[in-house]
Every structure is written in structure tokens, then in C-alpha cells.
């Protein structure tokens, strides 16, 4: 009954115009929220039987974790090393993170990935011998945090045709208080802001064959990554370099990497040989995130709605959309994909969605390169990030940043940093007269 009512509500709420279908960014998993709750709303299409699990998953996502020992057994297992206390700390209101404005600010929704040259297990990164594969700034009592990453900005102005000046900033990363020795000359570092977390189930359901067909057409490259649950190499879909194969593994990886919480998928604590206090720390019963909690967390992510587009039929939005395609942006930021089947949620299948991604890696040029390969992704390749919800990012959190290191504070800044395979598209945008550029940005704001 509830589903019928919600489905009826969806039809009533959807704009009854020519652009109605295009507004349904997530197909049946679209929600008509355009305020601060745009990324936290459950999709009406989630089956009734999963609503309770969705709510449990939401609690797991939002609840700060506790260092052992503690009384609330459901959430014990923070650390020994960690970045933040909860998932939501890095994904405010399920949206994207941001970079600190000044060197004095901590990285609240951002972290620094670390590794050394060479291939690690199964072809992935080779973790730093002392620090692992990311800098954990915090430790539970008795375990020193690994140190602090500091970001400073080098700014310059770019003047566009028509005289508009855009201030761009490039991050410079340094470290203070490194507790386990110097990082060393060969350390590879890559600052990353947290991405938004809605719509992941739909992206997981896009058929691999469709993604490979796009690759053959636009020159993008699929990443091939390790699927820890199934013990084989598969297509990568999630993460800034598409280094995670599934929503479940992305979640379990973040729980361990960011919170220090073990799960049935990743059972070992996040301590290296160089961290005796970490290795000796009191730990909670294992795994700290139970199988039930992990599945509930997955259900939460699969069930989150994708916000509908606004103003689809506005003439300037339409013009901007045409300019987006003409500039070549849509070659990688694919407007429309159709989902196939999803292994754990049938309802995600058969949806026409508008994520504006191809889930493929593309060379983005020297300015954005981190020089840190990850499986097949080179140091200058990044996965095309989805653009759905783009116009709501700063409504959900006014600090939200764009690009992997949060350097861009607006879609225009992000476009201007595009290089490599996207150089021509960015150049086309640069050449646009001011009015056309405004129309393009209005279109992006409608996503």
C-alpha cells in the first residue's frame, strides 16, 4: 500500500512537461527534495521490506563510533587509528566534502592517500610501510595519531573572454607531527575530499558491457580492480580512481580506512609494523562492524534517492545543455545510462538514469595529476565523477568542493582545471561568450 501511495505521489510531484523524464535523474529512485535534505531522503521505490534496514543503515552511517572498551556494544571499534568518528563526519548530509580554507584548519572531510611506488597485493597500490595507505590523523587514547596533513593554496587568476576573472587555487600539501618517522623521498601522496554517497546502487547496476562500449567510443579506460569478497579482478566503478568494484566493498573499505572499524570483508586492524601502540591497543570483539550492520549500511546507500533536476525546460537551461554537448563534455559526462540488474536489489534494474558519468578513467592532464597509480589508473587518470545533484551541493553544505582535492569552489573552476583528454572541451567552454557560459552554468546548476 505504502509503495502504491508513494508511486502515485511520485507521478503527481513530477513536472508534467516535456522535460519530465529528464528531471527523473534516478528513474524510480528519484526524490523531489531540493533543500538541505536533498541527499538524505529515502527513495520511494525502496521495497517496504527494506525500510527498516534502511533506517538501521542510516543509524550506522550517522552514529559516531566508540573506542573499546565502551558500553554500547553495537558501535564499539573505533581505531586504533582513524580520521573521523563517523561516516557522516566526512560526508555532511551525504554530500561531498571540502578542503580547508587555511593551513590552520584541519582536514575535516578530506584525507591524504599514501603509498610507495610499485604494485601491492592484487595489482593495487603498495601501502606506505609505516603509515599504510592513508594518513590517519587521530588515534584512540594511548595510540599516537599519525600526524597532520596541512593544505596551503597557491592562487592565480584566469581571465576569460568578456573579461571575467576566475580565481583558481592549487593545493600544496605538507605534514606536521608525523609520529612514525619521515614519509621518505619516494612516498606518493594524494589528497582526496569525500564524494557524495547517493545514487551508488544505480551506478552499480549499469551493465559492464555498456560501460565497455562507451570506452570503445570515447577512449575512456575501465579500471580493473580486486573484488575482495569474490576473490577475483573485476571492473572498478567507485572512488576517485574507480578502484572499488562494489558499494559493499567501498563501504567496508571506508569503515576500515577512515574509522578503523573492521568488518567481515576486511578483518585486520589498520596498524602497520611500525606502529606498536596501535598493534597493542585493546580491540573490540571482531568484526567490529557486524555482517548485519554492513548489509544495513549497504541498503541505506542503495535506497537513498537521487534528487530530481529543477528547471529542465527553462530556455537558458536548454541552451546550456546544448552547449554542454557541443563542447564535448557529454562525451565523458554521459547524460543517460540504463541500469541492468543489481545483485542484491532487483528494483534498481531497468531504470533510465541521468548521472552524467561514464564510470571510466580519463587522463585529466598534469594540473590535476597526483602521480599515484591505482590498479590500472595512472597518476593522471581520474574516473568521471557523476554530476547529478551538482546544483544542490552547496545548498546541502555551503562549503562543498569539487574535483578530487576540493580545489574547485564552483563548477566553472572545475571546468577550467580540466586538461589531458578533456583539454579541448575545457577550451571550448573558455571560448564561449559570457551569455553562453552563463547558460552552461545554469544547466549545470539544474542537475
Amino acid at each position: 500500500m505504502r509503495r502504491f501511495l508513494l508511486a502515485a505521489g511520485l507521478l503527481l510531484a513530477a513536472p508534467a512537461t516535456a522535460g519530465a523524464e529528464e528531471a527523473l535523474s534516478g528513474g524510480a529512485f528519484t526524490v523531489f527534495e531540493s533543500g538541505r535534505a536533498a541527499f538524505t531522503t529515502m527513495a520511494p521505490a525502496l521495497p517496504e521490506a527494506l525500510v527498516r534496514d534502511f533506517a538501521r543503515g542510516r543509524t550506522v552511517f550517522n552514529r559516531p563510533w566508540l573506542a573499546a572498551p565502551a558500553q554500547d556494544e553495537r558501535f564499539i571499534g573505533l581505531g586504533p587509528l582513524f580520521n573521523r568518528l563517523s561516516c557522516v563526519a566526512c560526508h555532511p548530509r551525504n554530500g561531498g566534502g571540502f578542503a580547508p580554507e587555511t593551513a590552520a584548519e584541519p582536514m575535516r572531510t578530506m584525507l591524504v592517500r599514501l603509498s610507495v611506488p610499485g604494485e601491492g597485493e592484487h595489482g593495487g597500490v603498495r601501502p606506505h610501510p609505516a603509515y599504510g595507505d592513508q594518513l590517519n590523523e587521530e588515534g584512540v587514547p594511548g595510540v599516537p595519531g599519525e600526524g597532520r596533513a596541512v593544505i596551503r593554496w597557491r592562487e592565480h587568476d584566469e581571465v576569460l573572454p568578456g573579461g571575467e576573472a576566475v580565481r583558481l587555487r592549487r593545493p600544496l600539501i605538507s605534514f606536521t607531527g608525523l609520529a612514525y618517522g619521515p614519509l621518505g623521498k619516494d612516498a606518493l601522496i594524494s589528497p582526496r575530499i569525500a564524494p557524495p554517497v547517493f545514487g551508488l546502487g544505480l551506478l552499480a547496476a549499469v551493465p559492464e558491457a555498456d560501460i565497455l562500449a562507451i570506452a570503445a567510443e570515447n577512449g575512456g579506460r575501465p579500471n580493473r580492480v580486486w573484488d575482495a569478497g569474490n576473490g577475483r579482478t573485476v571492473l572498478g566503478r567507485f572512488g576517485w580512481k574507480a578502484n572499488q568494484p562494489s558499494v559493499l566493498q567501498q563501504l567496508a573499505g571506508a569503515m576500515l580506512g577512515d574509522l578503523g572499524v573492521t568488518s567481515p570483508l576486511f578483518t585486520g586492524q589498520n596498524c602497520t609494523e611500525a606502529q606498536p601502540e596501535c598493534r597493542a591497543a585493546f580491540v573490540a570483539p571482531q568484526p567490529e562492524l557486524t555482517a548485519g550492520q554492513l548489509l544495513a549500511l549497504e541498503t541505506y546507500h542503495l535506497g537513498l534517492g537521487v534528487p530530481a533536476r529543477r528547471g529542465v525546460d527553462d530556455p537558458s537551461v536548454r541552451r546550456g545543455e546544448a552547449l554542454f554537448v557541443a563542447a564535448g563534455c557529454a562525451s565523458c559526462h554521459r547524460p543517460t545510462l540504463t541500469t541492468g540488474s543489481h545483485p542484491s536489489l532487483e528494483d534498481l534494474g531497468g531504470q533510465v538514469i541521468h548521472p552524467y558519468t561514464d564510470l571510466l578513467l580519463h587522463d585529466m592532464g598534469a594540473d590535476l595529476a597526483d602521480g599515484r597509480p591505482d590498479f590500472l589508473a595512472t597518476g593522471s587518470e581520474w574516473r568521471t565523477p557523476p554530476l547529478w545533484g551538482l546544483g544542490l551541493r552547496r545548498l546541502v553544505d555551503p562549503r562543498a568542493g569539487l574535483l578530487h582535492d576540493g580545489r574547485a569552489r564552483s563548477p566553472l573552476e572545475a571546468v577550467l582545471w580540466h586538461g589531458g583528454a578533456a583539454r579541448e572541451a575545457a577550451a571550448a567552454v573558455r571560448r564561449l561568450p559570457s551569455d553562453d557560459r552563463r547558460a552552461l552554468l545554469r544547466f549545470l546548476d539544474s542537475l
Binding site: G35, A37, N62, D72, A104, R170, S174, I189
Partner: protein
């Protein structure tokens, strides 16, 4: 690119800060149970105002706070900052805090006649939250229902099927709210009222205030019994809900204190001064927080429709939070036995009672009502410390035996009532 990478990597060698000290000189470790979004709001503002102090949060509920602060070194915690109603007076009694001195100057010590602290100056109120109704106005209009004005309104037949009642054993904010009804109406009448409200309501046993507000936003129910900030925050997010304070309610305080052995006492004092300052109090009114300040002067900045608990006539009812916290384990267990265990029968029973009343069979209705609303334990029994100690661990044999006894007694009277109504 290579030049940039070399420059970046050069900064990574050795762990030095080439531009000078970006690292905080002092630290303050704050134990809290506030939600992440609220912690972040305060962390950001505090760090901006005090860039030389690193703010570390340790998260846990009241029970963990008490266990941590009772360790010999108080777990290295400097400040307890939490809506843990029971923890502050209990810890203060054991000497866990140091005097606040003038740090809390200008902070209210009473609301509506209710003291906000023990008056001994080792902990201060930080914010207030009030109990009442989450309401979806268009839902009520659509069903021809007036906005309820008092808890007792929710027991009226017209509200049947439209209300959400949280189960206090599984919803953190609910025990004091149930206590407001029990303390205002008295023990027997209070439980009778709760039974009849429950008959009209869906019971919420998971997901807390967020789940309740979401249910209202989805339009499945029109009224929820709740604490205010969940609703005001959701309203700020654009959800079609609003909050209504009933005629009789209570505002419960959250507190802040500095531990007796604070390793960073100076930074701790700076943090406490900040959260109690006009700036720190004004942050309570932001959409992601939506609590009520305890510095009365801060309300000068509040929007016209913001609640003002320190204004208006003296309250006709003064809530006693200590009474509630002392018997919380027994009260919540009794609620489970008296209401949760027979919820469907309560609904059927009251539907039949109302039918009998409408048919003029008042004697039968009254007899059944007495059976359905008779609570199986007295107020004195529920207030006994030994019983509360037994019921603190609901999995213990002692707790199971007590609950089984109550459930059996309630089951018997319920069966009698239903049988009488079926005749």
C-alpha cells in the same frame, strides 16, 4: 607536472612544517554524545576562535561518560559536554568536576521553576530541549483534526490511527517525556492516559526522532510525540512538519563541566567559556542544531517565532528530572510490559470500549477500561533503587523475572477486559 610533484613531495619529507607552526599548541578532550553535525558546527567555530587549541571529541552516551570519568585518571577527559541528564548530578556527587567559578556567569539556573543544576557550581546548563508534538498541518487538515493542545488530547477517539508514540526503552529522548505525563497526571491516571494514547498510536521502537519525523514527512501519520529539535531541524530542511508545545511540558537541560583532573584545564575553561558565550549559545539556533539557549540574553537575536522558555507566566507544573532518572530502568521496563507487550489488544480493547460507550453501555465500558488501564506496579515500587538496579541489565535473570511477572499480570487483566467486551 613533475616539478609540482617534486615540490609537493619535498614538503612530505621529514614531517616538517615549512611555513611555521600550523599545529595547535594545546588540546582539549571533550566527551560528548551530541550528533556529528552539531559537534562539527562547534568544532569549526571554536577552532576558528582558538586556532591554538586542538579540539578532540570522544563520543559516548551517559553510561560510558560515567564509566570513563570514574576511572582514576578520568580517561584523560577535560570536559563533559552532553545531554546526559543522569550523569552530571551523579558525577558531581562523586567529586568528578572542578568548580566553574565565573565561567558560567549569566547562564540561567532555572526554567519555569525547575532547577537546571544541583546549585553547587561544578556544572552548568548548556542548552534546553522541550517535549511536545511533531505535527504535519496538512495531514491534520485533510483528516479534519484540530492541532492537539495537550497530551490528553491524543487519547481522544478522533486521533485513533494518527499518532506515533516512541517506546522509551529503545528511544533515547522518550523517558523524560513519559515522565512528564506521569508526573503531571499522577501515577495511575498517567499510565491510564498512556494506555489510551497507545491504543490510538503506532509504537516507534527504532530509528528515534529522525525516523518519526520521516514518517510524518511521508504522510503516513499526522502527530508524533517527540523532543523539539528533531522537528525544528527537519522544518529548516524543508520538511512539511512543525512543532507544538503542549500546555503542560518540560524543558530538559544538557550540561557542561570541567573534570577534576583535567589534563588541559586552561583549554578546557576556554572551551566551556566558548560554548556558554553569546557566540556559542547563538550556534544553538542554527538549522543543524536547533536547541534552546540557556543564556537568556541570546534570545534577543532569535527570530520572532523562536520559542522563549524563559518568558511568560510561571509554569503550573514543575518537572522533577531527578525523580525520572532515578526510576528510569523500572519505568521503561514497565512501559514494555504494560503497553508494548499487548499493543494490538490495547487497540482492540479501546475500540470495543468506545463502541460500548457509543451504544450507551457505560457500565461495561467502564469496567473494561478499569481492567485495561490498571498498572501492575505502584509508584513506590517503581522508585525503589534495588528494583532499578535489577532492571538496569534487561538480560539478567532478575530483570526477566520481574518483567515476566508484570507481563503475566497485564495479560490476565487484558484477557478479562477483552472477554467482558466480547460478551
Amino acid at each position: 607536472m613533475k616539478a609540482l610533484l617534486r615540490a609537493t613531495l619535498a614538503l612530505a619529507l621529514g614531517g616538517l612544517a615549512p611555513w611555521g607552526a600550523a599545529q595547535a599548541a594545546d588540546t582539549v578532550r571533550v566527551f560528548t554524545s551530541y550528533p556529528q553535525e552539531m559537534m562539527d558546527r562547534y568544532e569549526q567555530a571554536f577552532t576558528k576562535a582558538n586556532p591554538d587549541i586542538k579540539l578532540d571529541f570522544q563520543w559516548g552516551h551517559g553510561g560510558d561518560a560515567m564509566a570513563t570519568l570514574r576511572q582514576p585518571d578520568q580517561g584523560g577527559v577535560d570536559v563533559l559536554w552532553s545531554p546526559a541528564l543522569k550523569a552530571f548530578p551523579a558525577l558531581a556527587k562523586g567529586g568528578a568536576f572542578r568548580p566553574l567559578g565565573d565561567t558560567a556567569k549569566g547562564i540561567a539556573t532555572k526554567v519555569g521553576g525547575m532547577p537546571l543544576t544541583d546549585g553547587k557550581g561544578t556544572y552548568a546548563a548548556f542548552e534546553l530541549a522541550g517535549y511536545g508534538f511533531a505535527v504535519r498541518p496538512d495531514y491534520l487538515r485533510g483528516h479534519g483534526l484540530p492541532v492537539p493542545r495537550d497530551w490528553s488530547d491524543l487519547a481522544k477517539p478522533a486521533y485513533a490511527g494518527h499518532v506515533i508514540l516512541p517506546v522509551p526503552s529503545s528511544t533515547g529522548f522518550a523517558p523524560p517525556m513519559i515522565e512528564v505525563i506521569l508526573q503531571h497526571h499522577g501515577w495511575d491516571k498517567g499510565w491510564a492516559l498512556l494506555a489510551e494514547i497507545a491504543a490510538n498510536a503506532e509504537l516507534l521502537d527504532s530509528g528515534g526522532g529522525v525516523a518519526m519525523v520521516n514518517e510524518l514527512a511521508e504522510g503516513t501519520k499526522g502527530i508524533g510525540m517527540i523532543i523539539d529539535f528533531f522537528v525544528r531541524s527537519a522544518k529548516a530542511d524543508g520538511k512539511p512538519v512543525t512543532f507544538v508545545y503542549p500546555e503542560i511540558t518540560a524543558y530538559v537541560p544538557a550540561h557542561v563541566a570541567i573534570t577534576a583532573q583535567a589534563p588541559h584545564a586552561k583549554a578546557a575553561e576556554t572551551f566551556v567559556r566558548f560554548v556558554l558565550s553569546d557566540e556559542g549559545q547563538a550556534l544553538l539556533m542554527t538549522p543543524e542544531v536547533m536547541r534552546l539557549p540557556v543564556r537568556p540574553s541570546t534570545y534577543a537575536k532569535a527570530p520572532a517565532d523562536f520559542p522563549r522558555p524563559f518568558e511568560g507566566k510561571a509554569a503550573a507544573f514543575v518537572f522533577d528530572p531527578a525523580k525520572g532518572t532515578a526510576r528510569q530502568f523500572a519505568m521503561t521496563a514497565l512501559f514494555d510490559a504494560f503497553i508494548t507487550s499487548r499493543h494490538a489488544q490495547l487497540r482492540d480493547g479501546f475500540a470495543a470500549i468506545r463502541k460500548a460507550e457509543a451504544a450507551g453501555d457505560k457500565a461495561r465500558a467502564e469496567a473494561a477500561r478499569r481492567l485495561l488501564t490498571g498498572v501492575p506496579a505502584t509508584e513506590a515500587e517503581i522508585g525503589a533503587p534495588a528494583l532499578n538496579a535489577t532492571l538496569e541489565d534487561m538480560e539478567s535473570e532478575g530483570a526477566k523475572a520481574v518483567k515476566a511477572r508484570w507481563t503475566q499480570a497485564v495479560g490476565a487483566t487484558t484477557a478479562q477486559a477483552l472477554a467482558a467486551l466480547a460478551k
